[in-house]
Amino acid sequence: MSRQVGVERSTVASRWGAVVFAGGVAILAAAPFLFVTSVLRTLVQFFYLLALAQMWNLLAGYAGLVSIGQQAYVGIGAYALLAFTNNVGLNVFLSVFLAAVVAAVLSVPTAALLFRLRGGYFAIGTWVVAEVYRLLVANTQRLGGGSGATLAVAGIDRTVRENWTYWIAFAVGIGSVLLVYYLLRTRLGLALRAVRDRESAAQTLGIAVLQAKIQAYVLASTVCGLTGAVTYLSLLRLQPAATFSVNWTVFMIFAVVIGGIGTISGPIVGTIVYFLLQQYLADLGSIYLIILGTVAILVMLKAPRGLWGWVMETWNVRFFPVQLRVRTVEASGGGSGTGASSEPQPLHRGSIDK
C-alpha cells in the first residue's frame, strides 16, 4: 500500500465558500434593483468599513505594521475628491478614482519618512502625519478650511448618483477582500507572511523586508484613499476634524482585533460585529466607545486570534486559504482523491507574530 503525498491549497470550506460567496456577490451586485434607498445606504457603509478593515489587517496582520494614522488617507481621498469635483469641475465618479491616485502618490514620500521609525514609534508617527494633513487642509480656505465643505453633486440625478455610489462602494468592498486574497498568494504575500512570523529569519532567506513593507503600506494607503473618496461620495459633507478623525482607525483596529487579525475572514466578521453593535448601541455615545475599547482589550489579552481564529481552531474551516498544505492519499483502496488518511495539517498556521 503506497502513499502519495500531494500539496493543495483549497479546502472543502473554501470550495463551498466560493459558491456561496459568488451567489452573495451576485445578489449584492443587483441590490439597487432589489432594495430601497435606506438599505442601499446601510450596505454602502458596510462596504467602505469592510475595505478599511481589510487594509488595516493587511498592514498589521500581514506586514507587521501598526498604523494609527490611516485616517490620513481617508481624509486625503475625501478631500482629493472634493478638489477634483468642486474646484476642477471633473465628473464626481471619475474623481473618486483620481483621488486614489493622489493617495498613492502622497503615500510614497510619507512612507520614506515614516519608515525611519520602528514599532511603537512608527505607530505614533503615522498619527502625526495624519494630523499634519488635517491641519494643512484646515488651513486651506479653497477646501473649506476648518468648517468644511459640501461635495457639489447638484447636477446629477439623485437615483443615478445613489446607484453608482452603491456600485463603486460594492466594488471597493468586495474588491478589497479579493485583492488581499490574491496578494497573499503572490510572492509579495508569501514574503509578508514570512516577515510577520519572524522578521530576522525572513531577512536571512533573502526577503527584501523593508521593500515588502513599503509596498504593503503604499497599497493599503491607496485603497484607504479610494475608500475615503467613496465614503464621502456617500456622506457628501466634509469637515477636517471628522474626515481626518482617529476614530476611523479606532474602527479598523476594533474590527480586525475582534474578528481575528492575520486572517481574511477576520475583518469581515469584525466589520459585521461592529456594524450590528453600532446599529443598536451607537446612541449611547461615549459608553459605546467604552464598551468597544474594553472588548478589544479583553480579546487582545484572552483570545488574541479573535472570533475567527476561534472558529478556525474549533472547526478547522478556511474560506480563504492562502497557505499550501500537505495531504497524504492512499494509492490503493480506490477511495476518492480526497479520502485523506490523516487530517490535513497546514504547513503554516496563521498565527500572529510570535
Binding site: 511603537g120 505607530a123 508617527g125 494630523e131 482617529v246 500572529i352 510570535k354
Partner: protein, 290 residues
C-alpha cells in the same frame, strides 16, 4: 522683539513638553513599549487635581501631594494587571491594549466631566511676571513650570545613575533575561517604572492644567507632543528630551506668531524635518537606535 518673546515663551513651554516626554521615553527605554495611553493619563491627572481642588479647596499646586502618589499607584496597578501580560509577544499586543485603554479612559472622562474645557486656578502666581528687558517678560508661572521640569529631569537622571533601583532598571533595559537571573523581579520593576512614568505625567498634567485649559479629548495631542519631543531630542537621552521639548515649544510659539492656525502645524513640520535630516534625533545616544 515679539520674536525674542516668542522664543522665550517657547522655551518655557518646552519644559512642560519634556515632562510629557520623559514618562513616555522611560517606559520605552525599560520595556520597549510605547504607551499610547500616556497622553490620556496626563489629562486624567489634571482632572484628578480638579476634583481635589473642588472638594478640599486647596491650591492645585498643593493638590500635587495627593495626585502624584495616586498616579504612581494607578501606574503600578495598570502594569501589574494589564500591560505585563502583553509583553514578549511582539509589538502588537502592548500597542493595541494601551490604545484601547486610551479610548476607554478618554470616554470615561467625557462621560464624567463632559467635553467642556476646564482650568486649574493657582491664584496670584498666574498674573505676576519678571521683566528680562523692556520688551521681554516671563510670567512667574511658566518660569516655575520650566524650573520644576529641569529639576525633575536632573533628579531622575541622578536616580537612574546612582541608585540600586536605577541600576536594576538599566540592567533590565539591556537584557531582561539576564536581569532576572540576577534576582531582579522584572514584573515588579516594570510596575514601578510605570508608576514613575505616570507620576511624572501627573506633575505634567497638573502643571498643564494650571498653565492653560484642558479637556477630555486633549490626550492624543499631548501624546503626539511627547513623542515629537522624544524623537527630536533622540532616543535614550534625558537631556535630548529636554532639548527636544524646547525645540518643539519654540517651533510652536514661532509658528503661532506667523499665523494663529500654525501653532501645532509648525511643531509637526519641525519634527518631520528632524526625521528627514537626522532620524536619530539631535542627541542620540550611541547604540540606542531601536
Amino acid at each position: 522683539m515679539t520674536w525674542v518673546n516668542a522664543v522665550v515663551q517657547g522655551i518655557m513651554l518646552g519644559g512642560l513638553y519634556s515632562l510629557f516626554a520623559t514618562g513616555l521615553s522611560l517606559i520605552f527605554g525599560v520595556m520597549r513599549v510605547v504607551n499610547l495611553a500616556h497622553g490620556v493619563f496626563t489629562i486624567l491627572a489634571a482632572f484628578l487635581a480638579l476634583v481635589v481642588v473642588e472638594h478640599i479647596g486647596v491650591n492645585p499646586l498643593v493638590a500635587l501631594v495627593i495626585v502624584v502618589p495616586l498616579m504612581f499607584a494607578i501606574g503600578y496597578v495598570l502594569q501589574r494587571s494589564l500591560v505585563n501580560f502583553t509583553l514578549g509577544a511582539g509589538v502588537l499586543p502592548p500597542l493595541l491594549v494601551t490604545f484601547g485603554l486610551a479610548v476607554v479612559i478618554e470616554n470615561i472622562l467625557l462621560k464624567v466631566f463632559s467635553a467642556d474645557s476646564r482650568g486649574l486656578d493657582a491664584g496670584r502666581i498666574e498674573n505676576i511676571s519678571v521683566r528680562l528687558t523692556d520688551w521681554v517678560a516671563v510670567g512667574w508661572l511658566p518660569l516655575t513650570i520650566f524650573l520644576v521640569a529641569v529639576f525633575l529631569l536632573v533628579t531622575l537622571q541622578l536616580f537612574f545613575d546612582r541608585t540600586m533601583f536605577g541600576r536594576a532598571l538599566r540592567a533590565t533595559s539591556d537584557d531582561p533575561g539576564a536581569a532576572q537571573l540576577m534576582a531582579i523581579d522584572t514584573r515588579h520593576l516594570y510596575a514601578v517604572a510605570m508608576g514613575i512614568s505616570l507620576a511624572i505625567g501627573g506633575v505634567a498634567g497638573v502643571l498643564l492644567g494650571v498653565r492653560t485649559t484642558f479637556g477630555p479629548l486633549d490626550g492624543s495631542v499631548l501624546l503626539i507632543f511627547a513623542f515629537e519631543a522624544v524623537i527630536i531630542g533622540g532616543l535614550g537621552s534625558m537631556w535630548g528630551t529636554l532639548v527636544g521639548g524646547v525645540v518643539l515649544g519654540i517651533a510652536q510659539t514661532i509658528g503661532a506668531q506667523l499665523s494663529p492656525g500654525w501653532f501645532q502645524l509648525s511643531g509637526h513640520l519641525v519634527f518631520l524635518a528632524v526625521l528627514a535630516v537626522r532620524p536619530t534625533g539631535l542627541f542620540a545616544r550611541a547604540g540606542a537606535s531601536e
